[in-house]
């Protein structure tokens, strides 16, 4: 880190003030940013505003049925939170399969969102939890639903001087899952992921929300599949139709991590498996 020029604010106001300047950039766990910097090694780099010292942004808070996570909450903290395990199972599942222990100890939820990758593993769960992001700058705060935050791969609505200061959602008392496929068991980016949240009432599925990772320029919801499933009994026929529908909703590409056809096919497979309660295979 000594190579990089850093500023270490201790209050949010101080941080926002600093970020209002030129050629500065916030850094949380650094697991995305330092990789990017390595690639431009030797070139002039912005000054890093180290967020770590902003203690309140590390907190997991519960108020009534609403949970709010500070952006600096790490994957490991999510993975090990008994509260979240009940209130947001899909988020916990996503946090626990990403990266490796070392990465999970550093990687933050705020960084995962701000980085804006369609394969960011915490993002599909946050879509199906209808998460709200709080964005702050010297000019004030605004609130934005997560599905309005992303514009394309790595492109978000975040202004240069803004920070994500909170991620909040209602506790879910319903069912949820997150499943993904990757090339190896650890330290691998998702080829495809599916997250869902839904209720089961008298054998029928309702309130179903499904989000897909790594199969479109941003994480996307699957509205047609959601609509189809709503109110249905979960039998083989229904699941097959849902799998077919969701394949049509995915818009995958081929790249170094996978092949478009494979991704499309797997979206359906993961949806079926999730709804059937088949756990993430390791």
């Amino acid at each position: 880190m000594t190579k990089y020029k850093t500023i270490n604010p201790t209050t949010l106001d101080e941080a926002l003030e600093t970020l209002n300047g030129c050629n500065v950039m916030p850094i949380a766990g650094g697991t995305d940013l330092l990789v990017k910097f390595y690639e431009v090694y030797g070139k002039s780099l912005p000054k890093l505003v180290v967020l770590d010292g902003l203690i309140p942004l590390h907190e997991i808070k519960t108020e009534n049925d609403r949970i709010s996570l500070g952006p600096l909450v790490t994957f490991s903290e999510i993975e090990n939170s008994p509260e979240l395990r009940k209130a947001a199972p899909q988020l916990v599942q996503a946090a626990s399969v990403a990266g490796s222990v070392q990465i999970r100890n550093r990687a933050t939820i705020g960084g995962n969102i701000a980085n804006g990758s369609p394969s960011g593993d915490l993002i599909p769960p946050l879509y199906v939890l209808n998460a709200e992001l709080e964005l702050s700058s010297v000019n004030g705060r605004r609130s934005i639903p997560i599905d309005k935050f992303f514009k394309g791969p790595g492109i978000t609505v975040l202004e240069k001087n803004e920070l994500i200061t909170s991620i909040s959602f209602d506790k879910t008392f319903e069912n949820g899952f997150f499943l993904r496929l990757a090339t190896r068991k650890a330290l691998a980016i998702s080829k495809v992921s599916v997250a869902a949240n839904y209720s089961m009432q008298n054998g029928t599925i309702t309130n179903v929300r499904i989000a897909l990772g790594a199969v479109a320029p941003t994480v996307i919801r699957a509205p047609r599949t959601e609509e189809y499933l709503s109110g249905k009994e979960l039998n083989d026929n229904v699941l097959s139709t849902a799998a077919k529908l969701i394949k049509e909703e995915a818009k995958p590409i081929s790249d170094i991590r996978s092949i478009a056809d494979y991704r499309r096919e797997m979206v359906g497979v993961l949806l079926k498996r999730g709804l059937n309660g088949i756990p993430q295979s390791e």
């Binding site: 030797g42 490796s100 090339t183 190896r184 068991k185 650890a186 170094i256 996978s258 056809d261």
Partner: protein, 783 residues
């Protein structure tokens, strides 16, 4: 991890036991000095300017702007080379700095020495090179077609080897079943943890001293001397502690040493060059990708009659070790089986891809994957189980190999196969797995593979090595040899052999890093030859020393020489002297000898037993002895996602005599793990000569989470030629993992995968391919 060791003998005190690596503490405590840890006062930093295209004519190189940048001390091109512009152990055409054209994307056209890395990098950006792009040749088969674009002056054939035995047509005539299959394997990066690094220092004598991450010091020295125009005795190459090599730090290091040497001589300053991982991936040679066609003929009851094969290796831009690598492939192409009629043709072709060379296995992992898959496919056609078909055809004592060599030693193939199959109840389990329900998503499978492997260089070339043993007056010992420790455990192994012979404990021995000016040219540290060659040389050195010090000991103990026992840092004559068991410390004996003017320094030299080879028909005693190994892999296949989990490995090998037990196990574990990477994950993909992967974020290796339980059984089968009976282990452990996995996937799913690696997409989409794939030409006759 489980170990079973067959018939461990107690003949030896040290050899055969588990000794902690002599270099372990330095490595885990950070005391070990790797090449990049070396610095010299006033050193400059070297950087290279890579080719902008994989194939192009160089029209002009303008270094003017770069040379003017403050902090730059030298910018050199081929015009500044005092000696030859190229080097190479087999074909000396690899360019230290390119002159008329570039042949792959890792070629270098200019080099810079500057006061900092940053300045050196900026200077590289300022070098202007005009190119005229040429068509790119990226497929070895296309490269060999008439009219193909030429990479070098002559045609694109880099090497060709053939083996002819019996009459191939008659062999197929006698066959009831004939099967033809195509297989392919991918290009593999060595992935040593330490990228290449050197420090080159101009010497007082007008020569040069280079400390670096070097594997084969002597071939590197020849390259440097040739390019710098110096005699061998003025080029000194010192090996720093090596952070892994696996065959990889040879020609790549020759190039780096030449470049650093040129800059050091031009500036009169020490020059340090350290490759980043991206540079290493781009420039360093790889394990060859192979395209393999097999035709096999067998009788109804499974007696192999004939094997014909046509094999194409991608040599990339330069020959490097391709001629030898493909020769080994030719010798081993028919696997560890007795086959009366053989026709093998192996071609290596130049392309504009990254060049290829030595890597653990050296032409065998490709062959093992193909032949061991083929044998399973044949078993399926014949309705036999894979073990039965193998047992009917494997090499036995006195069998004749495909190259016409009679095996005079104890052939342990059946034993290793039994070891991996018996406990698991292979045949029953294999049959049960075949009957798994069609509609279950998760299916289990087991698969086996086996191999024989000629040890050391064989008929590739001269095979000899030397070890220097120097007893100090306090009884401690300094060992040095031209063969090196590169992580494989040679320092410990050779120390143990000396320890056994001189009766001193391994902690009394210090194994020095190799130094071309101080240790004898012992050829390359390759081909699993180090324990065998250096071990034998060390034994000779020990013998010489004992001959000199025994008379002194006998005199001191007043006993006949033959009663002396050297043990545990002392010498005594049990129950033979008037003084009973009086022990003389080894240190006292050493000091006495020194006082008497007896030389405590010996150089043991060992030349391998003879081998023969006839180029015309590919017949001969290719290697002086062979080792045998077998693997069993158990997998679980998720048939819906194509995800293959390797659950278990059972590995059995015949290393002759184990020297260091923990080292031997390490070789097996590491070999299996490397083999799993080969089977499941790794692929150095290229498109039109451009690499598609740049670092380990996309070139994926197995992590600790991907490693299954590995059960190992080592056979005790001392070889009369080996030092204390030892043969080799490092490469066999690695070469047969992939076919065991592919065979296990077939057992689970009924799906045959003939192309590596077995990624999820391959396994999943491979299933779809089966529907349109023609099933090969099966010819059933007479029944």
């Amino acid at each position: 991890m489980i170990l079973r060791c067959m018939k461990h003998d107690s003949k030896h005190k040290i050899v055969g036991s588990s000794v902690p690596r002599v270099d372990a503490f330095d490595k885990v405590s950070g005391r070990a000095k790797y090449a990049a840890d070396y610095n010299a006062k006033g050193q400059l930093y070297g950087m290279v300017c890579y080719a902008s295209h994989p194939h192009a004519k160089i029209l002009n190189i303008d270094t003017g702007k770069a040379a003017k940048l403050p902090g730059v001390r030298a910018v050199l091109t081929h015009e500044d080379i005092p000696g030859e512009k190229s080097f190479g152990s087999v074909i000396p055409h690899q360019m230290a700095l390119c002159s008329d054209k570039v042949r792959y994307s890792g070629d270098v056209v200019a080099i810079v020495a500057a006061e900092s890395i940053e300045v050196a990098e900026q200077a590289i950006e300022l070098i202007d090179v005009d190119y005229r792009q040429l068509d790119v040749v990226s497929d070895p088969k296309v490269a060999l077609k008439d009219g193909a674009i030429l990479i070098h002056d002559e045609n694109n054939l880099c090497a060709y080897h053939k083996v002819r035995r019996g009459n191939i047509d008659e062999g197929f005539e006698k066959s009831d079943v004939i099967l033809e299959r195509d297989y392919s394997t991918s290009k593999i990066e060595h992935s040593y943890i330490e990228p290449e690094a050197v420090l080159a220092e101009p010497g007082e004598n007008g020569g040069i001293t280079i400390t670096g991450s070097v594997q084969n010091l002597y071939s590197i020295r020849r390259a440097v001397a040739r390019v710098l125009g110096l005699s061998l005795n003025r080029v000194r190459i010192i090996q720093a502690t090596l952070g892994g090599s696996f065959g990889g730090k040879d020609e790549t290091m020759s190039a780096l040493c030449c470049r650093a040497g040129l800059l050091a001589l031009a500036t009169g300053k020490p020059v340090k060059m350290v490759n980043t991982r991206e540079m290493s991936m781009r420039e360093s040679y790889k394990r060859h990708s192979y395209q393999i066609h097999y035709k096999v003929g067998s009788t109804k009851c499974g007696i192999l009659q004939a094997i014909e094969s046509e094999i194409y290796a991608d040599a990339g831009a330069y020959a490097a070790m391709s001629p030898f690598v493909t020769w080994r492939s030719a010798v081993h192409a028919t696997g560890p089986y007795s086959i009366p009629n053989v026709k093998t043709d192996v071609y290596a072709a130049y392309t504009n891809n990254c060049y290829t060379g030595a890597m653990r296995g050296f032409g065998s992992p490709q062959i093992c994957f193909a032949i061991e898959s083929l044998i399973d496919e044949l078993a399926e056609e014949l309705n036999l189980d894979p073990l039965e078909l193998r047992l009917k055809n494997i090499l036995k004592d006195n069998s004749i190999t495909a190259t016409g060599q009679g095996l005079k030693h104890k052939v342990s193939l059946k034993e290793v196969l039994d070891n991996v199959t018996e406990k698991m109840g292979f045949v029953d389990k294999w049959k049960q797995n075949r009957e798994q329900k069609r509609d279950t998503a998760f299916k289990r499978g087991i698969g086996i593979s086996c191999s024989y492997r000629g040890i050391s260089l064989g008929a590739e070339g001269t095979d000899a090595a030397g070890v220097i043993i120097s007893i100090q007056t306090d009884g401690s010992v300094i060992l040095s040899t031209g063969l090196i420790e590169m992580g494989q455990g040679a320092a410990t192994t050779i120390s143990m052999i000396v320890s056994e012979k001189l009766g001193i404990t391994p902690d009394r021995i210090r194994f020095l890093s190799a130094d071309t000016s101080r240790s004898p040219d012992s050829g390359p540290t390759v081909a699993s030859r180090t324990t065998f060659m250096a071990g034998n040389a060390a034994l000779r050195g020990c013998h010489e020393l004992l001959e000199r010090i025994k008379p002194v000991a006998a005199e001191l103990l007043r006993c006949p020489e033959q009663d002396l026992l050297f043990e545990n840092n002392s010498v005594y004559a049990p129950n033979k002297t008037s003084e009973g068991d009086r022990k003389i410390p080894f240190s006292e004996l050493a000091d006495k000898c020194f006082q008497k003017g007896i030389s405590l320094f010996a150089h043991g030299w060992y030349k391998s037993p003879p081998t023969t080879w006839n180029e015309e028909n590919g017949q001969g005693d290719a290697y002086f002895t062979y080792v045998y190994g077998a693997n069993l892999a158990e997998v679980e296949v998720d048939c819906i996602t194509g995800n293959v989990r390797v659950l278990k490995f059972i590995s059995s090998h015949d290393p002759g005599q184990i020297v260091n037990l923990s080292g031997a196990l390490g070789q097996v574990y590491g070999g299996v793990i490397m083999g799993i990477g080969y089977a499941m994950l790794e692929n150095y993909a290229e498109s039109e000569g451009n690499p598609l992967v740049a670092n380990f974020d996309e070139y994926l290796l197995p992590t600790a989470c991907d490693i299954p339980e590995i059960e190992t059984t080592l056979i005790h089968n001392p070889d009369e030629l080996g030092p204390l009976g030892a043969k080799s282990l490092g490469e066999p452990a690695c070469e047969i993992a992939a076919p065991a996995i592919a065979n296990a996937v077939f057992n689970a799913t009924g799906m045959r995968i003939r192309h590596l690696p077995l990624t999820l997409e391959r396994v999943k989409l491979g299933k779809e391919l089966v529907r349109i794939d023609s099933r090969g030409s099966v010819k059933a006759r007479g029944g």
